[in-house]
């Protein structure tokens, strides 16, 4: 049995440097973005009580707001971008989108209701 060729020191350093560069490029911009989002969420969380300071007691008794149902555009962005760059809705006709969404529902195991919501979004904005 042949053994694996040892890695040359130069290649090792080059590889390590490239890896670090890519990882750094990926993580550095993420950090402020995440921080900004966190800050935004924190701000909104602190602003709300400030606005409702007068009604602090009554707000406690209020039931938690129901989560917003995702729109077709959001579901499209969420599911389709996982595997490939998003296609513009205008690239296909309404009937073509119907066939393609059936294909994607099977291929990507999309829930039927979400698939229908995405289809409606694409057809509403389709090329024809």
């Amino acid at each position: 049995m042949k053994s694996i060729n040892p890695i040359g020191p130069f290649k090792s350093r080059l590889r390590t440097a490239l890896s670090l560069a890519v990882v750094a490029a990926a993580l550095v911009p993420l950090a402020p973005a995440t921080a900004a989002e966190d800050k935004g969420e924190t701000t909104s969380k602190t602003e709300k009580p400030a606005e409702q300071r007068g009604a602090a007691d009554t707000s406690k008794a209020k039931p938690k707001a129901a989560p917003k149902k995702l729109t077709g555009a959001e579901l499209y962005s969420m599911h389709c971008n996982r595997c490939h760059p998003e296609r513009y809705p205008t690239e296909r006709t309404a009937a073509q989108w119907k066939t393609i969404l059936l294909h994607m529902r099977v291929r990507a195991n999309l829930p039927a209701e979400q698939s229908r919501t995405i289809l409606k979004y694409l057809q509403d904005n389709s090329g024809r």
């Binding site: 042949k2 890519v22 990926a26 490939h84 296909r92 209701e113």
Partner: protein, 460 residues
């Protein structure tokens, strides 16, 4: 009029009395009578004055009434003019309508036109073509650089109504013929061909040559969808497709996009390339049910069964995690003495629209006549970052994505290979990609060497 006559009458009486009564008569009237007469005349004067005032008021009222009457007359005349204009226009419209009706009557055929079919019902709109095409240039260390191949991989879709979809994917590849022989060869592979029937919102039945969801690579990443031109090395340990039937679907968990997806399948499974149970004869891609001699038979006694379950958890659009576990097991040698089994764990993570990481770990094991139980194993992890996430207003930068991947495989028979790939994708458009990668290869196979690859990919 009566008042005026009365006043005139009184004045006439007074005058008559003054004229008719002679001086001697006046002399005969005493002072008292004179005073009474005088008082009576004064009263009559006052009465006449009042009547005059009343007459003036009545005349004013009459003048106002006359003005109102004149305005009413004007309004009436204007209304009359307008009515005449409208009647004129109505007449013109009626003439136009009658002309159109006359022309339409002359142009209409005797039989009514047949109804135009809806888009939904036309064949052309039910039929779609997707797919991709690639051209590669590669330079392997120690060899000449070359345009490696041209690949055309269309996917044909035909939707039969609301619940039926037939889909087939092909791969046309142009290659040189074997050394010392002229010409070239165009190979055509049927990557998959399956008929899907949507039984309900949660179950779809698929049958045919299925892309197997052992992990997610075969179904969702292969071809131009992959960010690196080459497949991960350990994918060679798994069959990409199999002939059989499958049930699959997804169950939403809440309204925020979270879902559980599943696949359960039965396929012919792997087979032996030479009919023996020797470890090197394992053939993951064969056993399609129809032999070259046209005999219809599974190459061994029993099919293989497999399943995958995946959990997709989005936090918000572009931020999500998917975790999946899958496996398959079944006989592989003609004698049915040995089984081939595989387990795969897959994961993908998206943090924003710019950053993604995905990977798979796979391990298989199979019995053999000559080597006992063989344990192939491998894994790969791949990351990509779109520089658009940096929000730099530089030309070209926003169209670049940096990618890298580490993959390793051990075939269980002594061959070990590790590879590290760094590269980029330049998005000429959302479907036209220019990719460049350098692969650092380390293997105990001397044929495996570092490689530079450029690829132009187009997805349609």
């Amino acid at each position: 009029m009566k008042t005026r006559s009365f006043a005139s009458g009184c004045a006439a009486v007074c005058c008559a009395l003054a004229v008719a009564l002679p001086g001697r008569t006046a002399a005969a009237i005493d002072d008292q009578q004179f005073n009474e007469l005088k008082e009576m005349i004064n009263k009559l004067g006052q009465k006449v004055e009042k009547q005059d005032q009343r007459i003036e008021q009545l005349e004013k009222t009459h003048a106002q009434d006359s003005q109102v009457h004149e305005q009413d007359q004007k309004t009436h005349e204007q209304d009359q003019q307008r009515i005449q204009e409208l009647e004129k226009k109505l007449g013109e419209t009626q003439r136009t309508v009658s002309d159109v009706q006359e022309k339409a009557t002359m142009g209409v055929p005797a039989e009514p036109l047949p109804r135009m079919p809806l888009d939904e019902a036309t064949v052309n709109h039910n039929f779609s073509i997707l797919g991709d095409a690639e051209v590669q240039y590669a330079k392997t260390s120690g060899q000449h650089g070359t345009f490696l191949f041209a690949d055309f991989a269309p996917i044909f879709l035909y939707r039969g109504g609301e619940k039926v979809l037939f889909e087939a994917g092909f791969d046309f590849i142009l290659q040189n013929n074997a050394p010392a022989s002229s010409g070239r060869t165009t190979t055509v592979n049927l990557s998959f061909a399956q008929l899907n029937y949507l039984m309900n919102d949660y179950v779809t039945l698929s049958a045919g040559n299925l892309l197997l969801p052992l992990g997610t690579y075969s179904e969702r990443t292969a071809g131009w969808l992959n960010k690196i031109p080459d497949d991960p090395l350990p994918r060679a340990l798994l069959p990409g497709s199999g002939v059989g039937a499958e049930l699959r679907g997804a169950v939403p968990l809440g309204e925020m996009g979270k879902m559980l997806n599943y696949s359960v399948w039965g396929v012919n499974g792997p087979s032996s390339a030479d009919g023996t149970g020797n470890a090197g004869a394992l053939d993951l891609g064969g056993n399609v049910g129809l032999r070259l001699d046209n005999a219809v038979a599974n190459l061994h006694g029993n099919p293989s069964g497999g399943a995958r379950v995946g959990l997709f958890m989005p936090f918000k659009p572009h931020y999500d995690v998917e975790l999946g576990l899958s496996g398959q097991s079944g006989e592989w040698d003609d004698a049915g003495q040995h089984t081939w089994s595989a387990a795969v764990a897959d994961a993908s993570l998206h943090l924003g629209s710019s950053f993604e990481v995905k990977g798979e770990y796979m391990r298989s094991w199979y019995g053999s006549d000559d080597g006992g139980v063989v344990h192939p194993e491998g894994w790969w992890v791949q990351a990509g970052y779109k520089l658009a996430g940096l929000n730099l207003d530089w030309p070209f930068i926003n169209n670049v994505e940096l990618v890298n991947r580490y993959d390793t495989v051990h075939d269980g028979l002594g061959l070990k290979t590790r590879r590290y790939t760094v590269g980029y994708i330049y998005y000429i458009s959302n479907t036209l990609l220019f990719e460049g990668d350098y692969e650092f290869l380390h293997s105990n196979d001397p044929g495996e060497k570092d490689r530079l690859v450029f690829q132009l990919s187009y997805g349609f």
